[in-house]
Symmetry: D3
Subunit: 296 residues, 6 copies
């Protein structure tokens, strides 16, 4: 057992680090956003947008509107609590409580109004997944268990909130998707319609990446920055590539740099490492003489 004196010392040291180190100054009296609550909100939104898939609560057609209406209002409140907490943590000194409440309401209203549009986009993503994966047995299976689709679903939710300038919450959402699927899409990225990620583990899509319509990418693909050594100075610079419509990028390819543009219809082969633009319509592949085979 720790001696009583020893215990007091350890407690004091840890407590003092907390008090002295500027970085730990959370604003007392305001809640921090709650990761579990945010996860719960995401899963509830999924239940609403795909009624019957993830909830035993829905048992007949007559119930559909009641089900959606009932949960949506609760969702509104749950989300408002989290957004308010996030706005309060990052508010400037002079911002009043009233302004935060008002801002919360503006964000929430806009977000919920955009839900039917997000649902429409997700339906298109499901079509893209079914058309793009020979191993898919049905569209239901995609909704049910495709990690690529789950990551896109969360991205589309988080992107809307990012767009509405909600602090912290979009990132907490995207890191949840990251931890569940190994797919790391920054909520700032702009992604078009009919998007599909197959397998997905290791995919990274950076904050300023732009992706067109009908794009398909595989596991391990990075849409990254060339260098990040200038740190916080780069905050608002475009650091990640632009991918135009109808591009396919096979596994473990890396495409880097804010001025790199992959033109319409390009096919990027597995393991390619690209730091310059590629003209529309071309095929990029790793050269065959890179490998040596030695018989032993």
């Amino acid at each position: 057992m720790l001696a009583e004196i020893q215990l007091k010392e350890i407690v004091e040291q840890i407590s003092n680090h907390f008090k002295n180190e500027e970085l730990f100054h959370i604003k007392t009296g305001y809640q921090m956003p709650d990761q579990n609550a945010i996860t719960h909100i995401l899963l509830k939104i999924r239940q609403i947008l795909f009624p019957g898939y993830f909830s035993h609560e829905l048992s007949c057609d007559a119930q559909t509107e009641y089900f959606i209406g009932n949960h949506m209002i609760n969702l509104y409140n749950e989300l408002a609590i989290q957004i308010k907490a996030a706005l309060a943590q990052y508010k400037k000194e002079k911002t009043s409580e009233e302004r935060i409440a008002e801002k919360t309401d503006e964000i929430c209203s806009s977000f919920f109004t955009s839900l039917p549009h997000i649902q429409t986009l997700l339906i298109k993503d499901i079509h893209a997944a079914f058309d793009g994966d020979p191993a898919a047995l049905s569209k239901e299976e995609i909704i049910f268990c495709y990690p690529g689709f789950f990551a896109i679903f969360i991205y589309r939710i988080a992107h809307e909130l990012y767009h509405l300038k909600t602090p912290s919450i979009p990132r907490i959402m995207s890191e949840y998707a990251h931890s569940q699927t190994g797919i790391d899409i920054n909520p700032g990225a702009e992604i078009g319609e009919y998007f599909f990620i197959d397998h997905g583990t290791g995919v990274v899509i950076g904050e300023t990446a732009k992706i067109g319509n009908h794009v398909k990418i595989y596991q391990g693909v990075t849409l990254g920055a060339l260098s990040t050594r200038s740190g916080q100075l780069l905050r608002d610079v475009k650091r990640h590539p632009t991918i135009e419509d109808d591009v396919t990028i096979y596994s473990s390819a890396s495409i880097l740099g804010g001025e790199t543009i992959i033109g319409k219809g390009v096919v990027v082969g597995g393991n390619c490492f690209i730091t310059e633009s590629v003209p529309a319509g071309s095929h990029v592949t790793v050269k065959h003489h890179d490998i040596s085979i030695t018989e032993t």
Copy 2:
């Protein structure tokens, strides 16, 4: 707060998407398979096959048979509920309820009868892991916390159900393994004895891949298709490679194509990108001149 009118509109839009869009037509009156229940089944099977490792319930040797017998019958029923739900969702219009019940029973009986054989295969996989990893302190540690072994365990369960033509459930199982370990093994793949995956994050093994005995692979290895642009037309074609006995594949190597055969005893070096067959006994490595070192 959302105005009442605004709320009604959003609810109606979402509800109408649900009703109009053909893809959302789940068969009302039938349950969907339940992901949580399926996860629970997997973890229960693990408790039965490795009694004492994952359950405080087992406290002495005299209890072993009671423990296995008691849980197995419950498992039988829990699995039957899921299989029945899956069969009902994908049934053709004329298939009777009786036929589904019968089919459920056939699959369940075959599956449980094969459990001792699966246990035997897993014991061999544990030997392979212990022999293959210098960092392994004991065999218990492998059962306890090796993600590679966990993914193989789930694959062997899911593959048996795939083999018995159970819809959806094998895929839900393999995506659970994928989300926990970053290892994505399609349940259709055929994998021999004494298989070992080290670290494992980013591994992808496609639906029609074939792997022999005593094969060892590392993180980031893809056994993939060359191209999947023809979509659903490729459903029954062999699209993934064949790996013969005693092959080792180091990290981030990609081996692609249904006609690519990696011969007995081949060693594939890290980051190799292979789209053609490699004769037995050879070593494949990335050429050294691929890298340029510039002093600054």
Copy 3:
């Protein structure tokens, strides 16, 4: 339904595998370490080191010391139970119960005494992350949801216990981090101050790797062994590279071998595959002519 006879047979077969196969001999009468309890301990330590971030329990400054003191003593006991279980499973036959209790107390006391130091290291890691990532909006966000930081936090805890020769538990901890973040850092690795991993999925850092101060690495980086074909014979050999101070390693680079040294200040470009030492100050990049672009 399984016939009663068939059931008895399956139960007996599984039960007999359990009894015959040497590898399953867990020591009856001793508990196995419990993965859930260990996860719980990690999350509690995080609450103590970052008070107010992960617990609604802390509601004002006056409470801080009470909060830390109260939870620390419970943590001490929870951790002691797990360590005792681990020591008992791996004890030699002659080791007495008293010796195990004594050893448990030694490890626990040392571990808790080192907690303020670990907290100090983690504060430095947070500074490194904020300085190194243009997308980071605040230091709070890093503590809250950066997977790279979460993996380093768990590594620093697990490494201390590894250093104190605790069996099994450090590995169970690092595999938890691995499953949550896709980052696999062996608790035996030695890592300096101001360490940052961005995105992180697919990172592997081997048991005998050494990493200096101010090092930054990206997703998919492997610090691995050249070959592991000699299995358990390699247990105590240095098999993984040494990375000196101020090195940056971009995504999917592989650095292999126990004698490979990456000198001070080196920048390793994305996808590089390195098996030999690199002198201080140099830049390593993939050669551009590796890729062929074909217009179609």
Copy 4:
């Protein structure tokens, strides 16, 4: 520890009692009604009939209908499962599955159609409680925490199901009320409007009791049978008293016998023991000379 042989013996003895004793023959293959599920149903009905009192889910007026509609359909299904189980356990050999399903639907439909009427009765009971108890601060408090009102609420639900000839479930409901409040109202009793029980512990109201409107009773009151020594032969005989309108019965009074009628407006004093009818308008009291006071 129990020796293995000893264990087997105890298990076999208990198991054989189970198999031999006729009374334990539950119908295998049918579920038993589930007490927890039934409790859950009762609490859900309370949420629906008093929206906003027992659920944080309801947050504005616009939600009320969605809330009721959504939960009611789920309740319908939950209740149907329990009723079906109860009907199956008590079915005669020749009753077909179809007939049970049909019967379940009939009971459920009638029950839900009567819910608005039950709500109306309960509102009247709340008025009676508020008017009758000087200690009641508000009507909300009665809904919230008066055990007498809780018991009456459950009685009115259980009585409707008793009336529809549902086996077992009404009794399970009334025993739940009994265990929570100490008030034991048999679901067969017939009770009028504006009924109030104060304090309530120890109240017993028998199966064939009849109670008029505006009746008020206190703790410890028994409306019981004179003798029950003939056991099952008495099943359909009126064994419990009739209480007419506007009667008050103070604490611990007992009124026994199927032919005993307490006339309109009677006041029964505390501790009275009554086995014969009392004419309308009279006051019944314990005689004062029953007590002797001895100074010591």
Copy 5:
């Protein structure tokens, strides 16, 4: 299944009752007090006042103050939420939000300041129980499982809050005790030191009862009102008896009326029914000739 039309009708009827009936007007936008939260608060207070008895969290003496301090601050906040909700539900129209917050703080501060005094009273009650019950094996057993002591504990907490004019919450607390123990003590009653209730089921102690020191009562005892027919008009009248010091009241005795005084040292025998004062020092018993024994 309910037809869609039928469902709409039932939902509307219930919803309309809710909207029309005045009694259901809870103040929208304010939370109702939460029974589960209040129960939780009571059990937490018990953990603090009797450290180590009801929580595994306390494992050594050095932890005691940390334990109490940590939980007390959380309790403060949890209780404040409930008190605020209760004050808001019963506030007059003009009362401002600020006044409610202020009032909440006043009540909470006073309540917590009185906790050590309440603990002192409870310690005296434990002594009374041990001295008064030959079946008590130890004082620990009394703290642990005597329902009489549990009811007194809750009474002393609820009485303090009643005294501070907290609406609703004291009654919710006393009804919790009532439902767990069958002992119904109105929080308004005034009870002296060294109080003991044995067995307790059916005990009722009214709002305006006064009880001296060293009083002992048994199951089924009522300290009630003579008549309550004037309803709400009696709200502030003394309706229940006064019991002076050193009185013992045996099982099922009833003492009624606001002017009835049971003098110092009186012993009231079982089943006595008393509506007039009894002089100090006397014994009250049921007369023996009340019973007739008939040989059959």
Copy 6:
């Protein structure tokens, strides 16, 4: 908010009461028995003795022995933990740890060996309940929801442990029954075969009461002591009555005193108050002239 100084003071006062007051000295380093764990044990025993009634786990006859055997061993361990904790709290200073472990094992072994006998007694109690209650629809209903039977079940378990001289646990068990059913049977009482309690609320059966076979009692019956004013001096004296075979005691009768014997076959009417023996075969009733009826 409490000021920091004020908080410290309250914490210190409560903490000091804890340290100074002798009665709170629980033996540090030993666990207290855990009420929840003991409740859980009781409910598990019920599952084992009535397989299929209270657990969905049992789904076919082939499973019965596995089910009982598996749970029984866990129960053995769970009960042993509680018994050891109870023995340690009450041990004399010199008793060694080994002796406690030994004693725990003796009690547990005896207890489990007696379970089949207890099951036999309970089956007889069910027959008594069915024969004695005209409102009982089936024997299943009695097992399922009769509070009288539940109280007797717990009594029979607690009595066996009382008989084996287990401290505290039997009382914790009987107080659980008391809180659920309002029936308070001291575990020391001796009760014969075919015992039935109808309704039950308010029943009290004292520690030294003796009850023969085929006895039936109703709600509110007290088998109590005449006076308990000598406190702990009465600990081992017979203080409660003896009830011979075939006696019926109707509601709210009180029978008091250790030398009071109710002879074979006696019928005691409701509300009788008896302090002297009654010869076999007689009927005891309240005299009719006790009540006065006044017309108003």
